[in-house]
Amino acid sequence: MKRVIQTLAAMAAVGIITGAAIVFGGLYNVSARAGHFPGVTWLLHTAYVNSVQFRAPAMADVPDLDADGMVALGARHFDGGCRVCHAAPGQDRWAVPTAMVPKPPHIQTAVAGWNVNELYWIVDEGVKMSGMPHWPADRTDDVWPVVAFLAQVPDMTQAEYDALTARPRISDDAPDDLAYCAMCHGVTGFSTNPQIPRLDIQPRRYLEQALQSYVNQTRDSGIMHVAASRVSPAALMELAEWYSRQPVVPSAMSSPADAELMAYGARLASAGTRDVPACTSCHGPKAGPQSADFPRLAGQSRIYLEQQLTLWRDGERGGGPRAELMQKAAHQLTEDKIKALSAWFSAQPAMNPEPNSSEDG
C-alpha cells in the first residue's frame, strides 16, 4: 500500500514539474505555422460541431427570414463585419485570414451543412479558440438578418452580392464616411428597406445622442455597435449634422393598414390611456414645440417601430440621457397596442424635424 502511494506521489510530482515547464518555461509551441499535433484538429472540430448542434435554438424559434429587407440588411452587416475573414460569395479570400489556425472557411464552405438555427447560434455565440467572435451585443434579435443572408449564400452570385452591398456615390461636400452609412440609410437618410430606420425625419440632437449611445453601448444593437465603432467620434457628429439637414422625403414608409387598426392607433397615439402616455406629445406629429431630444415617428418604418417598441416594453432598450422616460412610458404596452401604434405612425406623412423643435429645450 505504502509503495502504491509513493508511486502515485512521484508520478504527480513529475506531472506538475512537466506542466510547469510547459507553461512557465515556454516549452509549448504556440506557433500557428506549426499548427496542431495530429488528431487535435479533428478532436476540436468534432467537439465544435456537436456543441453547436446540441445548443442551437429550436427551429420553431426561427422568425420569417424572407421578410422584406432582411437579406439586404444581413448582407451589409456581413460586408462590414464578416467578409474580412470569410470572403464574399464568388470572391477569393483575402490572404491574411488564410494564414490563421484554424483557417476561417470561405463563406460558401462555412454555411454548408448547417441549418439556419445552427447558423444563428454560431453567429450569436461565436466559437472560442477559433477567432470567431460572438455577436457584439446583448440583444440578439438583430442576429437574424445575418442568418437570412447566410441562408441565401449557397445560391448567391458575386453580382447579386455586389448589388446588395454597393455603396452609393456621394457628393464632394458630404462627410467622408457617408458612403458607408448610406449603404443602409441612404444618402439623404431615407431608407427604402423596412428593416432599417429612416433618419431624414430626425432632429440633429436626437441623431447625435443615438450615435453616442451606440458608441458607449447604452443602446444595444450588434449591427450599430459595429457600424458606429468604424467611424471616428468627430465624424459621427458630422454625419448626424448631415442627415439632420437633408430634405425630408414626405412619403410614409408604409401604406395604411386596415381602418380599425389605424383608428385604434390614432386614438392611442394622440390621447393615450391610463396606462399608456399619449405618444404624440413627445414624438409628434403635433402643432406645438417639440424637444430635439425626442425622435420623430411619423412616416417611420412599421417593422422598425414594432421592433423598438417591443424592446422598450421588455426593458431591453436603452438610449440617450432621456431613455428612462420611454422605459416608463412603454412598460405597459401590449402586443395589440404595439401593432396599432406602429401601423398608425408608419402611415403618417413625414415632417421636417427642425422648424418647431427647440435646440435649447
Binding site: 390621447a271 390611456t273 391610463r274 402616455p277 399619449a278 406629445s281 403635433k286 424637444s291 429645450g361
Partner: protein, 327 residues
Amino acid sequence: MSVRSSLLLLAGALTLQGCSGRQSILDTAGSDAAVLLTMFWVMLGGLVVVWLLVNGMMLFFHKLSPRKYDESHAQKLIIGGGIVFPTVVIAALLAWGLSIMPDQRAPGDGLRIEVVGEQWWWRVNYWPKGADAPIVSANEIRLPTGQRTEFTLSSAEVIHSFWIPALGGKMDMFPGRETMMSLHATEPGSYRGQCAEFCGASHALMAFEVVALAPDDFDAWLAREAAPAVAPTGDTAQRGAVVFQEQGCGACHTVRGTAAVGQVGPDLTHVGARASIGAGILAPTIENFSAWIYHTDDIKPEVDMPAYDTLPDDDLMALATYLQGLK
C-alpha cells in the same frame, strides 16, 4: 427630573399632540366620525369601570376582607360577573356597532366622488347629480358640508384603503372591484386623508387634502374646478407653458384647455390651487414644484413619474412657475 422621566414626559406630550389636528379621530368634523368617537368614549369609559371593578374586587377579597365565603354566593358572583355580564355587554356593543354601520353605506344626497387609488396618488372624479361626464381632479377631495357625499372607490394596481379620520371610518379599495361609502361632513375646514393599507414603497407618502366647504362655497369651487386652465401670465410662466409642451408633459398629464390630454398621471388643470403636490406631501410652492420635477424619485421612491433631471435650471424654474400658476 431625571433624563428618563423627561423623555417619558416628552413622549407622552408628543403622543397626545397626535390626538388633535387634521388627521385625528378625536377631532371630528363629520357625523360618521362623531358616532365613532362617541362609541370610542363609551367603550373607553366602560372599560375603565370594568377594570376598576375587577381590580377593586381582587383587592377587597384578597387584602381587605380575606375570609372564607359561602360557596353559593361565590358561584353567583362568578356566573353573574364572569359569564352573564360580559355576554350582555358584548352583545349590546355589537348591536350598537352594527346599528351605526348602515350610515356610512347610505346613498349620497347628490354629489358622488369617484376615487381611484394609483401608485401612489389619488385619481378624483366629481360627479354632480345628473352629470354625464365627471369633473376630473386629483390628490385632493373637496366636499360640501351638511349633506351626505357618496364615494365610489377602486384601485388601479394593488389594494389601498381610503381613510379620512376626521370624517369617518375607512374603506378598502380593490383593483377590478368597486366599493362604496358615504361621508357626512358637518364642519367646514381642512383635514388630511391617508392610504391606510400598505401598498408599496411610497405607501406612507400617499396622502391627500380634504376640504369641507359650505354648500355655496363648494358649488363655486366646483364651477372653478370644472373650468379650463387659466392662461399663463408673465414671461417666465409663458416660457414654462412652452417647456411643458416641448418636454411632452402632456403625454401623461391633462391641462384642460391646452393640447395636454394624457391620462397616466394626475390632472394638472388647477394644480396650483391645490393645498399640496405629490399627493399630500409638499406645499405647492415654486421651489417644491421644481424639486418634485427634478428629484421625483428621491421624494417619492419608485414613483412612475420619471425625474426630469436633465432639464436646464431656467427651464425647470419656468415650468415650476407655470404649474404653480395653474390656479
